[in-house]
């Protein structure tokens, strides 16, 4: 009994859906804007705190955890899969693992939760924010790093170490890797010249290096229990800074911006804010050189500016660049979607729906189990998608609905 | 008139009217004595009404104690009369004639105390009518209400019907208060028609009353047996209780007979043979009772359900061992040893046995009600039940009041049925001869 069999009914349904979407949009839009204006920490659709509630209330936390909070029988979604995931990649990961999750739920006789699109947007926002958080470091590693990176050749930590560099314990109360990198960034040219003078290699910080260092330095300071935190950053301000400090002249975000430097939306850039900042530090000498070459003044940042800037970049990284309709169409056929999702097919025809990652994730959860079951009956394997493929597919599906066409997954 | 002649009691039976017509001083003393207990009971009850059942020794989980024991005991005794008299009547046991009335009166009077015990036990006696207003027919207690009220009605009628001719005698004798006898006499003239009517009615009632009586005590037992509580939930409780009831009923009858015989000098009417026969019946019941008790406890023991065994051992060797073994001695050892031998089946012997049986049967009810409740399935604090003066007072008061009312009855109505004795003397002897003859093979030569 597909919708096409009863045109008047689906027409009415669609109309109602459209009207309600319109009404919801009219009602929600100001609310969403108000939220982001009032210091919603991220520039991504959805409210991470509400997403967290969904994560716990809908039972995700029964098996999954985030940064150690929650169940233990399924992966920690803040840590796995490794690397940075945009919204579309989150969806792809979810899509690919969905059948095994449903299977596990069936064994434990838990019925899969239902999500609205809003829930899913919140959940995505939550996961994305949590994935961008740094975890407290390992002081033992930090101590080794401090030696390996030859920090103590210049810096002191209380009584140990020496040289002309400032006492690192001064910053012991700073808990946020971003503020450390900011302080380092501003002094990078001076440090660089000292280092070259002493023949010390420019230290590169990989993975959780910076938090590890912070953790170790914190141990050394008896007054560290009064911490200094960073306030949540403002991506809007970050966007301004990105423009004003001239970052855009070299860096591109997606397709917009300069081409002299890496695309900041690149998938290979690290997952957390602190690591992202550290990557910036790692490239500081190179950037300085190319800035000097292009005669661009080297930007200095305040603590807040640095945080805002990174927040802006992370907000941008949430979205994938627009997909390719043609590739999407091919995928639709190749993965076997078209076999069912066609006029008169067994599945609903998808031509009148516009998709975003969160909407697609919501429908995956709401209809997926049934779909999976009927696929199993027909011995069709569950299709798996590579991250880029999902964007293409969404682009293709959305392209078929002219009026509410979504662009690049962004609402 | 022919009837008039018949109505006048045989002069040799005048004796039976004596208690009604003349009262000795000792009667009043004894009556006052009993009434004193009644007053105590009444005060105890008022106290209980005012403060609630807290004044009793009941607690959690022993929610039922003396009152319900009394209830079962009194209802049990009520089987004395009606059932025994009805069975004897239907069997044409001719020795019954002088004892039926005494038995029937016990039934009717004691039923009130049975019902009274339940009312004593209610937390809200003022809401008693809720039983009629919103009855729940699934409750064994409501079955009790029905069967007891039917039983009360039936046994009252059954007492009253054979009383009518005697009332008429009293009426004609001018006994006071005259209006009472005139009113109750119902214009009895001992016409043939009336007699036929009366005999038919008595016969019908006798047949009716037996199943009712059995049902009553079965239902009383079901109050316990229909729950799932250990050592209550038993399928033989019905017959077990009925046997126990008849057992205690006969015993009380023997005691009452002995008292009447002694006080009103009715040695001519209540003869050793009566005691002997009732004693034999009592012996049979004692054996039956033992059989049931044995069966009940043996099955429990073999069933080995832990929750049952806890109750079982609390009776055999635990907190309730003393009442249990006293019960066993008084219900079985004493009566059987006294009644089994002809030498001890004397009036004294049967009376001793009967008193002992009555004590024993009260204890039997007690050891059925309380041990089960004090050993609930879940290990709560085990209840320690000991009655307060209120319960003891009401129990004793009930006994005393029962005896007082019985005494009162003997002052208004002949306790030995005059007309039945007469009838026995005049008609039964030839009847028995005919009947016995009918049992025998037909004689080939007709006798003269």
């Amino acid at each position: 009994m597909t919708a096409t069999a009863r045109p008047p009914a689906w027409r009415a349904t669609t109309l109602a859906a459209l009207v309600s979407v319109l009404v919801a949009w009219v009602l929600l839009c100001p609310a969403l804007q108000a939220q982001s204006a009032a210091g919603g920490s991220y520039f991504v659709p959805g409210e991470p705190k509400l997403g967290m509630r969904a994560f716990f209330d809908k039972g995700c936390a029964r098996c999954h955890s985030v940064l150690g909070e929650g169940g233990r029988s399924a992966p920690d979604l803040a840590r796995a899969p490794a690397g940075h995931l945009s919204s579309a990649e989150l969806l792809a990961a979810m899509w690919n693992h969905a059948p095994s999750m449903w299977e596990k739920m069936r064994i434990e006789s838990v019925s899969p939760p239902k999500f609205t699109e809003g829930d899913m947007a919140n959940l995505f926002a939550f996961l994305y924010s949590v994935r961008s958080l740094d975890e407290p470091g390992d002081p033992a590693r930090g101590r080794r790093l401090l030696e390996d990176k030859h920090c103590l050749q210049c810096h002191r930590t209380g009584a140990t170490g020496g040289g002309s560099g400032p006492d690192l314990l001064k910053w012991a109360s700073y808990r946020n890797p971003v503020s450390w990198v900011q302080a380092m960034w501003n002094h990078a040219p001076a440090m660089q010249s000292r280092m070259t003078a002493r023949g010390v290699q420019w230290p590169l910080f990989e993975g959780n290096d910076v938090p590890d260092l912070i953790a170790y330095i914190r141990l050394l300071s008896p007054n560290a229990s009064k911490p200094t935190y960073l306030r949540p950053a403002d991506p809007q301000a970050g966007r301004r800074i990105f423009r004003e400090k001239g970052c855009a002249s070299c860096h591109a975000i997606g397709s917009n911006g300069g081409s002299g430097a890496p695309d900041l939306r690149s998938r290979t850039l690290p997952r957390t804010l602190g690591q992202f900042a550290a990557a910036m530090w790692n490239h500081a000498p190179g950037m300085r050189a190319s800035m000097q070459a292009q005669n661009i003044p080297r930007p200095q940042f305040t603590n807040k500016e640095m945080a805002d800037l990174i927040a802006y970049l992370f907000a941008e990284r949430y979205f994938e660049p627009a997909g390719n309709v043609a590739r999407g169409a091919r995928l639709f056929d190749d993965k076997g979607c078209a076999a069912c999702h066609r006029p008169g097919g067994i599945g609903p025809e998808l031509s009148h729906v516009s998709f975003s990652p969160s909407r697609m994730a919501a429908s995956l959860w709401n209809h997926g189990p049934v779909m999976f079951q009927s696929m199993q009956q027909q011995q069709i394997t569950w299709p798996r998608f590579q991250p880029g493929e999902v964007v293409d597919l969404i682009e293709f599906l959305s392209s078929r609905t002219a009026p509410t066409r979504a662009k690049g997954g962004r609402r | 008139m022919e009837t008039d002649k018949e109505r006048a009691p045989n002069t040799q039976d005048w004796k039976l009217l004596h208690p009604v017509l003349a009262t000795r001083r000792s009667f009043y003393y004894l009556g006052m004595c009993f009434l004193a207990f009644t007053v105590v009971a009444f005060f105890a009850w008022l106290r209980q009404l005012r403060f609630g059942l807290g004044v009793t020794g009941l607690n959690v989980p022993v929610y039922w104690g003396f009152y319900i024991t009394n209830f079962v005991f009194f209802i049990g005794i009520s089987h004395a009369g009606t059932l025994i008299s009805a069975i004897l009547r239907l069997c044409h046991a001719e020795w019954r004639r002088s004892i039926t009335r005494a038995a029937e009166v016990i039934t009717v009077l004691v039923l009130f105390f049975g019902v009274g015990s339940v009312i004593m036990d209610l937390g809200r006696p003022d809401r008693l009518l809720n039983v009629l207003r919103s009855p729940n027919f699934r409750s064994p207690l409501l079955w009790d209400v029905c069967s007891i009220s039917v039983y009360l009605t039936a046994s009252t009628i059954y007492l009253y019907l054979p009383l009518i001719p005697d009332i008429a005698i009293l009426r004609d004798h001018g006994a006071r208060p005259t209006f009472l006898y005139r009113w109750l006499g119902l214009g009895w003239r001992a016409t043939v028609k009336q007699k036929r009517f009366l005999n038919a009615a008595i016969a019908v009632m006798a047949v009716l009353v037996i199943p009712i009586a059995i049902s009553v005590h079965t239902v009383v037992s079901w109050v316990f047996a229909m729950t799932v509580q250990p050592m209550w939930h038993s399928s033989i409780f019905g017959p077990y209780f009925v046997v126990g009831a008849i057992f205690s009923g006969i015993a009380s009858l023997i005691v009452v007979m002995a008292l009447i015989r002694r006080i009103y000098f009715l040695q001519d009417y209540l003869k050793p043979i009566h005691f002997n026969n009732l004693g034999l019946l009592l012996l049979v019941m004692a054996l039956l009772w033992f059989y049931f008790t044995f069966a009940e406890y043996l099955t429990t023991f073999y069933g080995s359900d832990p929750s049952h065994l806890v109750v079982f051992y609390s009776k055999l060797s635990g907190r309730y061992a003393v009442p249990f073994w006293i019960m066993f001695v008084t219900c079985f050892v004493i009566p059987v040893s006294l009644l089994a031998r002809r030498k001890t089946r004397t009036i004294t012997g049967t009376v001793i046995a009967s008193v002992s049986v009555n004590i024993g049967m009260w204890l039997e009810r007690f050891t059925i009600v309380v041990p089960t409740l004090s050993q609930p399935r879940l290990p709560w604090a085990k209840g320690h039940y000991s009655p307060t003066w209120v319960e003891v007072g009401i129990t004793v008061g009930f006994g005393a009041t029962f005896m007082f009312l019985y005494m009162l009855f003997t002052k208004f109505f002949p306790i030995v049925s005059i007309w039945e004795v007469q009838e026995g003397r005049e008609q039964a002897v030839p009847e028995v001869v005919t009947r016995v003859r009918s049992y025998l093979p037909e004689e080939t030569v007709p006798s003269a």
């Binding site: 210091g39 920490s41 705190k49 967290m52 509630r53 716990f56 029964r62 985030v66 940064l67 909070e69 169940g71 233990r72 029988s73 949590v130 958080l133 740094d134 975890e135 407290p136 002081p139 700073y174 808990r175 946020n176 890797p177 971003v178 503020s179 938090p211 953790a215 914190r218 141990l219 050394l220 300071s221 008896p222 560290a224 229990s225 009064k226 911490p227 200094t228 935190y229 960073l230 306030r231 949540p232 804010l273 602190g274 | 008022l46 009404l49 005012r50 609630g52 006696p125 003022d126 008693l128 009518l129 009113w183 119902l186 214009g187 003239r189 016409t191 028609k193 009336q194 009517f197 709560w380």
Partner: protein
Amino acid sequence: MTFEFDRRSFLKFALGGAAGTAASGVSLKGLSDLNAALANEQVRVPTGPESWATSVCTLCPGGCGLRVRLIGQRAVKIQGNPLHPVNRGGLCPKGVAGLQELYHPDRLHKPMRNAGSRDNPRWKEISWEEALGTITGRLRGLRDGGEARSLVVLDRPRSGLLPRLQRQFLAAYGSPNYLVMPTGMDAVQAALRFQQGITEPVAYDLANSRYVLSFGVNLLEGWGAPVAVMRAFARWRDVASGRRTKLVQVEPRFSITAARADEWVALRPGTDAALALGIAYALISEGLYDADFVREHTFGFEDWRDAEGEFHLGFKSLVNSEYRLNDVSAITGVPADTILRLAREAAQNRPAVALGDRQTSSLPGNPYAAMAVHSLNALLGSIDLPGGVLVQQALPGSNSDSERSPGSPPPALVLSAGELPQAILSRRPYGVQALLLNQADPVFSMVNGDEFRRALREVPFVVSLTAFLDDSSQLADLVLPTATALESWQDTGPPPAVANALLAISPPVVRARKDVRHPGDALLALARSLGDKVAAALPFANYEAYLRRQVDGVFAAQAGAVFGSNLEETWDRLMERSGWWAPSYSTSEQLWEQVKQQGGWWEPAYSYGEWARVFRTSSGRFEFYSQALAQAARQQARAAHTGGSAARIDDRACLPHQTVLPETSSNFPLLLLVVEQLPLSGGQGAHLPYLQQIAGEHLFASWDSWLEIHPETAHQFGIEDGAMVWVESRRGRVQARARIYEGARPGVVHLPLGYGRATGSPWACRGANPLQIVEQQSDPVTGMPLNSGTHVKVYRA
């Protein structure tokens, strides 16, 4: 004729039936009337609009958050505040029963003056003005006479800001003597002081522990913040978490905690130290201990030589020589393989934490045993790490300067409340002229209560702040009635054993039902009327204003969060862990409003492994060999041999060790151990019927104290269950009902704490106070009491 007979009979029957029914109807109606006339049972419950208010519980130091249901002006129900991080909506029975304290019939109505003598008090109600005037006059007199230091304040254990206010008051007035009643954490706290150099309250990250070895700690019977412990306990056994934390309870008696534990290790009373050292031996000999931690962060593990080249015994040598498994098994009565198994399990299930030693709130455990237990934590590497022993975070804004008097403060009279009566009686180092009991009842709840009784008689001026008349206020000159939790502003700080900094503040929920005041209000009023420096130091109109000012300090810390839901807590913690702080307030005013509404502010994240903060010994490490103790011992030795500067001290006195148990005597063949139960935890709560009803539930012994005795022991001494018996020690005897309990150790009897007041609500005066007969020795080096039970005899009353 027949017809007539029939009709007549029918009519008569009918009439009779009708009459009967009517009669019975009338009589039932009569019964009902009689019933109504004899007992009027209408209980009218007034209704009104429903509302909810936030408050905090002050019945124990746990300080749970409350939500109070109000119908009109009546508080009708106390529930847990779901936003409060300590209890998260749950509440212990004590908190729920707090409602009865508000409406208690025996509460004090007005301030009272003793118009009679100390021995024979006659109480006369007076006004607050008069009462405060009297105190002001007295205190002025003392200060003007240069005897300000002779004022002593004895407080009950509490968290929150009131201790701070009292210290500030005393500092401004010129007295160093702020004392607090013992909490039962004393032994552990001593271990922390000797081995970590820490005086801050100890805390445990119980929720994250995977193996908990409790040495006599009554975790589920009122220890620490009871609800927080119960929540941790529930987390240990949360199936969803996929693993279970093992709780091992080491205790001679089968307590509720032992019953709920995964394993109960029954040991000989007073031998906890030996068992802990036996486990330490097993850990060391099997190489299961955290060698990294021991190497990096501890001192005195191996044998060592000091600066003067003198040899000192190390912890390892000590346990290897004296606490081998068979020796320990012989001392403790615990099989050697059990000890070995415990050691292995603890080593394999980290984080593992060891708690103890402790007896009850009034009887601190043995400090050496506590050191032995704490040494296990060091061996297991469970100090200041998740699931281990932590040090409580300080409340921001605690400005210790304002709590100290300007210039050099006079020397404190005594160090602990227990020593106070001796000081009063001996007038050394100086006499006590005035004593303020702030909701403290030492006569009832201290072991040396009779000494206190004598001492209080010696003090010229005693003021007692209390909601109920008690044994100590009976000896006071003035009794000031205090408000109950729901009637006044309340605040609590981080509860015992909880690591996170916390400040809960709540406005009054109902109007005061009597002429009562919060101690803070009384103290501030006193400060005002004393004028001068005291008034200047505490320029607050009332306690609310004081609290408001303290919140400024919290705001200035720029950290933490207002109480929120579980989710918000997690969110805030995740954020703070990675260095972000997203407060829900931007001004101090907003913070104040939110705190009042939600219940408080706290710091959801704890920074683990800050060694510099948690090891403040002279070595900067955890000290198996306590150098602080060594110093104390050296000083003592020096004092003993006057001039003998090179006094040699026994190394064992500075290391954890099993102390010698008191000799048994044939006159007193049994050992008495006092037990604590949740409803009357801390010995408090006997005045509340709800709590009396549920106390002693394992024996169905409500409303009365009982003597637990093992069936064999009972048989041996001819004692039956339920019999009244005398329990007699060298100090005296008390009467209690003997209860046979399988969980009592043969040869050991138990009396519960909290019963047997002499004065106060008749409900609280039931049963016997075991502290009256408890004996205590004190350790020569530390001066701390060693509790290892009291020898008693038991005989029928």
